[in-house]
């Protein structure tokens, strides 16, 4: 097992000390089985307790520890130091978000966008409790399962140049989640959700660069979700124009 030290260049933003972000360098002990988050925890525990970042599960599930690692959005709990050893690693906060402190970004705008697309099952008429669950076949689950794997880690927002250019853009994860519910056989809120996402700052803002899907650690493929919502919305609009009782416009 290779041993030694490795340099982490960690972005710092401490507005009470300096107006703009800067870098601090830390030499941490290197082990092959260490991930970037282990190195950050070492820095915080042993070298500088003021380094600030988010993390929770340490197993790629909670989506808290997303950061820019060597200028690419990555989950730091599943990015190994050995990928970069012996070269230094640059760790920065996720791009396209306001930075609150060091590696912590402000997710307020994302939370607002998330509420807008109503990511829950919408029913026109809720069935009586006694009638039991809304049942689904395995095939019906399979249709939306991929898009339900999102952990809201925000890597897709950091990878998206449209988010950088237009902070109002609803963004990949939010639209993918809307797509997930639109595909759910139990849901009846597709029209309602289309009113939220088929707007200039929604699906039509996406130019299909596709980097959100590359960055996604859960293979959700939000780029495809957005394009399929474009097709679904266009189909609904066309059907509403030709069918006597309208489509789901």
């Amino acid at each position: 097992m290779a041993e030694g030290t490795m340099t982490l260049k960690v972005a710092r933003y401490r507005p009470e000390h300096r107006e703009k972000p800067y870098f601090d360098e830390f030499d941490v002990p290197y082990r092959e089985d260490m991930v970037i988050l282990d190195a950050l925890n070492y820095i915080k525990d042993e070298m500088d307790g003021s380094v600030t970042y988010r993390w929770s599960c340490r197993m790629g599930v909670c989506g808290s520890c997303g950061m820019m690692v060597n200028y690419r959005p990555r989950l730091t709990c599943s990015t190994f130091l050995r990928e970069f050893y012996p070269k230094p690693v640059v760790v920065q906060p996720l791009e396209n978000f306001p930075v609150i402190r060091d590696l912590v970004v402000d997710l307020t705008s994302f939370m607002d966008k998330l509420r807008q697309v109503k990511p829950w099952i919408i029913r026109e008429n809720e069935a009586a409790l006694e009638s039991g669950e809304y049942l689904q076949t395995p095939d019906q689950v399979e249709k939306y399962k991929q898009f339900s794997m999102c952990i809201n880690c925000m890597l897709c927002y950091a990878a998206c140049p449209v988010v950088a250019k237009d902070p109002e853009f609803l963004g990949p994860a939010v639209i993918a989640l809307a797509h997930r519910y639109n595909l759910d056989s139990r849901d009846q809120g597709r029209g309602e959700r289309h009113r939220a996402i088929a707007v200039d700052w929604g699906i039509w803002d996406c130019t299909f660069i596709g980097e959100c899907s590359v960055a996604c650690p859960k293979d959700v493929d939000p780029a495809v979700a957005i394009q399929r919502e474009k097709v679904a919305k266009t189909t609904d609009t066309m059907l509403s124009m030709v069918l006597p009782f309208g489509g789901q416009e």
């Binding site: 972000p21 306001p98 660069i209």
Partner: protein
């Protein structure tokens, strides 16, 4: 956040770079795909000019054909062809990500869909070339 939507804490808002599209290979390929779409508009313009020349009489039509045969226009046509080939091929590749065609319970694989699109493209182009050359 305060009730009027202002943050209670200072934040640093990084400014997006104007040259973001040069930053990585995928961004550069995206920019190339978008820029090559302009050549489709140029072809449409040339076709309109062709129709205009045709409707203006035999003299204008011959002048237009002579213009197309100049070395500069021939070279430009080659550039247009290359750009449109790139744009079409990349667009077909993206299309296979979006379109889901189901045969029974199974979705048609993306590679088969891409092969069908490219095959149809080549067949239509060959048919157009055949009629153009022989009729």
């Amino acid at each position: 956040m305060t009730p009027d939507g202002r943050r209670r804490y200072p934040v640093y808002v990084p400014q997006p770079s104007r040259t973001w599209w040069l930053k990585s290979g995928p961004y550069r390929r995206f920019a190339a795909r978008e820029i090559t779409s302009m050549f489709a508009a140029i072809v449409s313009g040339l076709l309109l000019a062709f129709l205009f020349a045709l409707s203006s009489g035999p003299g204008s039509y011959q002048d237009f054909l002579r213009l197309l045969e100049t070395p500069g226009m021939a070279a430009f046509s080659a550039v247009i062809l290359a750009a449109l080939l790139y744009h079409t091929a990349t667009w077909f590749r993206l299309t296979t990500h979006i379109v889901v065609i189901r045969l029974g319970q199974r979705a048609v694989p993306r590679s088969a869909l891409l092969a069908a699109l490219l095959g149809a493209w080549i067949a239509v182009s060959a048919a157009v070339a055949y009629f153009h050359i022989w009729f």
